[in-house]
């Protein structure tokens, strides 16, 4: 299989590599770039564990060929905190007990971030809709919704 040039910005850093066309964005992030915060929960776009932000919008990285996001700006969970401290959304998740096994958490936080970046003061319903593509087996969602609401008060 021939390789193709892939250029994108991942968490603020320019990436230029050659990849095979059958590489999913999820595989590029985890296996090539060693950014294992993005998880594969189902591989079919039904759980949201693989959620990343591409050009400001959340997408399922298991349903994208890496080459589809050539030239775009990608943010993974590793790009949410800055050098000194965790993001207010992450702090709220910790404070509100919104993390149990943690597997859904990266996707949840990115969905929350994409929401708050566009709508800084969302209603509870808007939060529920924004996170409706992310499933959680542990928490029952209540703490997660509280955490996002809490973060919206701080940002």
């Amino acid at each position: 299989m021939s390789t193709f040039a892939f250029n994108a910005t991942v968490n603020g850093k320019k990436i230029e590599i050659n990849i095979k066309p059958n590489l999913r964005l999820l595989d590029l992030l985890r296996d090539v770039l060693d950014l294992t915060g993005t998880k594969e929960g189902c591989g079919e776009g039904e759980c949201g564990a693989c959620t990343v932000i591409v050009d400001g919008e959340i997408v399922n990285s298991c349903l994208l060929l890496a080459l589809q996001v050539n030239g775009k700006k990608i943010i993974t969970i590793e790009g949410v905190a800055n050098d000194k401290e965790i993001h207010p959304i992450q702090q709220s998740f910790v404070d509100k007990g919104a993390v149990q096994c943690g597997y859904c958490t990266p996707g949840m936080i990115l969905a929350a971030k994409a929401l708050l970046d566009k709508s800084p003061k969302p209603s509870k319903k808007e939060i529920a809709i924004a996170l409706s593509g992310n499933v959680c087996r542990c928490t029952g969602y209540a703490k997660i919704a509280e955490a996002v609401l809490d973060a919206s008060h701080k940002i």
Binding site: K20, P21, N22, R24, E46, V59, L63, L64, Q68, I129
Partner: protein, 283 residues
């Protein structure tokens, strides 16, 4: 493993036509990819991919004097939030808003939804209700085809290997009040078990025109003249009435025959048509 052979990223529609002509290997056009990537997992031989993501003019939604048109890269999110769609045909925006999840809606396209031809495709009943057409093109020719004629039963469309859908068009219906309802096993990330798009035009409080299309109760979504006729002539207060809901039940019973889902769907359709009518009348 995703079974991809070669990957192409044309910059113009002309290049797309060239790439689709005389292909030796199985070739698929990639728009959003939310359905295609799942098919690629199951493909028995490598599939060549023609990614149309760079063709900017396919991402536009336009309002013309008597029709609305949008291109084949337009996503569910774009339709959901489009002023043009919300103003002219709310049911389509509502249908788009109920597809999958925000992640799927940000990436998936309406035309992909049509071309994948699932019986449960959510945007399709809304489009079929207004007799929407698609522009089918290849290097030799272009033609407009009604979506109902394009769909050829489950996961099949009447498209030749060298053809691509460039966009969708539907005529504006002045005074149309429209609504959409979907029955799924949960509120999001749900495949429709039944869906209904309804549109009514009323003059002096009386229904003069009705458009009703049902999804997930037949191989492809379809307009139900039976339900439409039961609405015409009724006053707006009478729209949600026993005989309209019975017409819906009869239409579904006829389509589903002896299928295991028939007893359930024959009853559930009444609730969905009721919801869709309430949605339309609320607007």
């Amino acid at each position: 493993m995703i079974n991809v052979g070669s990957y192409f990223r044309p910059q113009t529609i002309g290049e797309v036509y060239e790439l689709l002509s005389n292909r030796k290997n199985p070739t698929k056009v990639l728009a959003g990819g939310t359905d295609l990537l799942l098919h690629l997992h199951k493909a028995s031989e490598p599939v060549d991919i023609v990614d149309i993501g760079d063709i900017a003019l396919l991402r536009t939604i336009g309002e013309h004097e008597d029709e609305i048109r949008f291109g084949s890269m337009v996503t569910f999110t774009q339709i959901q939030t489009s002023e043009i769609i919300l103003k002219n045909y709310r049911a389509l925006a509502k249908a788009a808003a109920m597809v999958g999840s925000p992640q799927i809606r940000n990436q998936g396209t309406i035309v992909g939804n049509i071309a994948n031809a699932s019986p449960a495709a959510d945007s399709v009943p809304a489009l079929v209700a207004v007799d929407a057409q698609v522009l089918v093109a290849s290097s030799g020719s272009q033609r407009w085809e009604k979506i109902v004629d394009l769909l050829a039963r489950i996961n099949k469309v009447n498209l030749a290997g060298n053809e691509i859908i460039l966009g969708v068009s539907f005529k504006k219906i002045p005074g149309l009040r429209s609504g959409f309802a979907k029955l799924g096993k949960r509120n999001a990330l749900a495949i429709s078990r039944i869906s209904a798009a309804v549109g009514i035009v009323a003059e002096n409080n009386m229904i003069t025109e009705a458009r009703v299309a049902l999804g997930a109760v037949a191989p492809n979504p379809f307009r139900s003249h039976q339900i439409e006729n039961s609405l015409i002539g009724k006053s707006l207060d009478e729209a949600i009435s026993e005989d309209v809901l019975e017409a819906a039940s009869a239409a579904v019973a006829e389509k589903l025959g002896n299928r295991a889902s028939a007893p359930y769907k024959r009853q559930a359709i009444k609730g969905i048509v009721r919801q869709a009518l309430e949605d339309a009348l609320d607007a």
